[in-house]
Symmetry: C2
Subunit: 429 residues, 2 copies
């Protein structure tokens, strides 16, 4: 075994970074045995050096992250700052100065993964980021390596713990959105400004990364269709229950039936209670993968938190260190299929539409005609009404999203339709 | 990209082997892109050469497996024969003659993994066997690589599809064991002789492999405690339901609380319905992992079948080919912790015991005294009775298995205890 240690620079020492540093110290012997050489924390770049950091030698702490990644003796840079800059420049500089990189930065990888991979490859370095999607759940490595001999056709993921916590509360207690969000905030599952989570931005970044890896192509953040879950109501859950479903915020990446394109989207959707994703509770994450030969797989676990994210970072750190010792690099970017990303209108799925309508004869016939005119075939209709008002719940067969949008637009123009109460896609069947 | 193809020899061309050969042909372009060089099927060793094999060039087929692995120009040998010999000798010969090996052979890896790893390492070859445990589910790679920076404390697995199908049927239909087994046989989920599955031999081999990888130590097949599930009754399921539980055949690998030893066992157990493993239906497999930093993870998917197993084999094939091209080897055997395996008597868990007792005053006091004398603390007791006979269901707190065994032996000696109807461990709480 080599005795000269591999040197690790840590960029960021917040919830995740401090946990990475702690485990590197407490589990040093295990890491040494698994890597084949000791690893040494050679520097920690932080914004506020005055903050006391238990277990970290103050002599290692610096505010000059750039100087740290430029030192030239660093083997691996662990980036847990988050955000686009300065993370992007620091990672690029690290590659140029001899280091491989382990990152937990979903926003950056989703936006600039291609360029960063290219720089890594140009310099013969590794770029690993298991922690960027679904925290501790091994996902990037299984998709990229275990399924490397298979063909993934669909990925359905619950990849945001905050929104799953809120939807699970609404499902189990009958609470409304605001009440469930308040509870999530009080318990620390939602941030003071929950926009990134509830509007699906966080999930969209993960969907872009997952789609790229699953289909060996390039999916940019802008390619991902995104709808938040703030409009989901207790009535939607009641309606889902009647159908034997629940509602989850899903990241959905699909290969088109003809194999010639892919789609990626994030939105709330009804899924059958019998689907493995339906029983994913609280803030847990899970990703359901359909592959041609493997069939249906699911990966489940905590999607966030200091220790779980640190676990993923350290798994990558061990792999990158082993590669360094073997003077090799791991499997890099794989985007050879160059499949185009189709717009949302071409996505084909089923829909659950709730309409408030006038309670008089002929309304159902009018509504059914509109669906037929747009080529959207109806599976079931449920009609309930009293006092001149009625509600109509229509569940369709599979149809393109554009056809459904056209249908809804036309329905809104009918005098007898007072309003479209909700439109929800039905997945996982 | 290199144009000289990597040469693959296939040993065995049954359900899995023929699927491997098929995918190598139909997905040749994808494999080439992912590996960085083409792969070529260079030979197929079979027992019955006369059998027609669709899509395989008859010129590649041979009955002389030894000559095939000795050819010297083979880069990777894929062993899907199963069993101990001739698989073991062929794999060893392959290592000696320049090839790395991908195997799906759980029995061989469980029995001789250490020796085979040593031979592979001595010759600078890879030995990969993702397909040996839980078919298509990526498990070996996540445990060995993704969690390489973490400390796994427990693995609970449903790793045998046949028994899960039977237990799921019993749970959902109230059927008895024989009726459910007959249905599994009729549907092809159980073999004509189901012994290896229902007696837990298959699961025990997987438990040995999982425990070794999870704890970085050596667990031999003989170290695994094993109980089959043929004695599980409809009454057990009814009792489980009253406790909010179901019954699964589990492979359980645990690190002792003091960290100084490990245990591995296979037996039917009650688990709470809220546990993620409880909702694993039909012939699906799932492995639940508890790690110090990552927390609770679960990996779910088809545990057997030609295509799913081929998916795992091909994932390994891609990795081994990439290693060959990079003149490297992947992470090999990791057994550095050398933790001893404790006997079943030292396992600490909870128990559900059904007793047939005389329905007269003082019986409960007698029974409770026996538990107390053996240091087994009672959690709940439920007593039901009529016509002079009664049944007593005792659920205990956590206690060593040896203490429970002693308790049961003493209970059998009581005049008032007519019989011990069932003893089942309660896990996953």
């Amino acid at each position: 075994m080599r005795t000269r240690p591999l040197k690790v620079a840590l960029l960021g020492c917040g919830v995740v970074g401090s946990e990475v540093a702690r485990i590197m110290t407490t589990h040093a012997d295990d890491l040494t045995a698994r890597i084949g050489a000791p690893v040494e924390l050679a520097g920690v770049a932080v914004r506020r050096p005055s903050k006391v950091r238990a277990g970290i030698d103050p002599a290692l702490v610096t505010t000059d992250a750039t100087a740290l990644v430029k030192r030239g003796d660093i083997d691996v840079v662990v980036e847990v700052i988050g955000g686009i800059e300065p993370a992007r420049t620091l990672i690029t500089t690290a590659f140029e100065h001899g280091a491989s990189v382990v990152s937990a930065n979903k926003a950056l990888i989703a936006q600039d993964g291609a360029a960063l991979h290219a720089t890594a490859e140009q310099h013969g370095r590794d770029l690993y980021y298991e922690a960027a999607v679904a925290g501790a759940i091994p996902l990037i490595r299984p998709l990229r390596e275990s399924l490397a001999g298979d063909k993934v056709n669909r990925v359905l993921g619950i990849v945001n713990g905050t929104t799953n916590f809120i939807l699970d509360k609404m499902d189990s207690t009958g609470a409304g959105y605001q009440e469930a969000l308040d509870e999530a905030t009080a318990l620390g599952y939602a941030e003071a400004d929950p926009t990134a989570d509830v509007e699906g931005f966080d999930a969209a970044a993960k969907a872009a990364i997952l789609a790229g890896i699953a289909f060996h192509t390039r999916v940019r953040l802008d390619d991902v269709y995104r709808e938040g879950m703030a409009d989901v109501t207790a009535a939607d859950f009641a309606s889902a229950k009647r159908m034997g479903c629940t509602i989850k915020l899903l990241a959905i990446c699909e290969r088109a039936a003809d194999g010639g394109s892919v789609t990626a989207r994030v939105h709330p959707a009804m899924i059958p209670l019998s689907h493995p994703l339906a029983s994913v509770r609280e803030a847990y994450n899970a990703v359901f993968v359909e592959a041609e030969a493997a069939g249906q797989l699911m990966f489940y676990g905590p999607g966030a938190g200091g220790a779980p994210t640190a676990s993923a970072v350290l798994g990558d750190l061990v792999a990158v260190c082993r590669n360094k010792l073997g003077e090799a690099t791991g499997p890099g970017d794989s985007a050879y299929t160059q499949l185009p990303v189709s717009p949302m209108g071409e996505v084909v799925t089923r829909y659950h539409i709730s309409l408030d309508v006038a309670d008089k004869p002929g309304v159902l016939a009018q509504v059914a005609t509109v669906f037929a005119e747009h080529g959207v075939s109806i599976d079931t209709v449920r009609q309930t009404g009293k006092d001149g008002e009625a509600s109509l719940v229509v569940v369709t067969h599979r149809a393109p999203d554009a056809a459904l949008s056209g249908t809804v637009e036309a329905l809104r123009r009918l005098d007898t339709v007072r309003g479209v109460a909700s439109i929800m896609r039905v997945e996982g069947e």
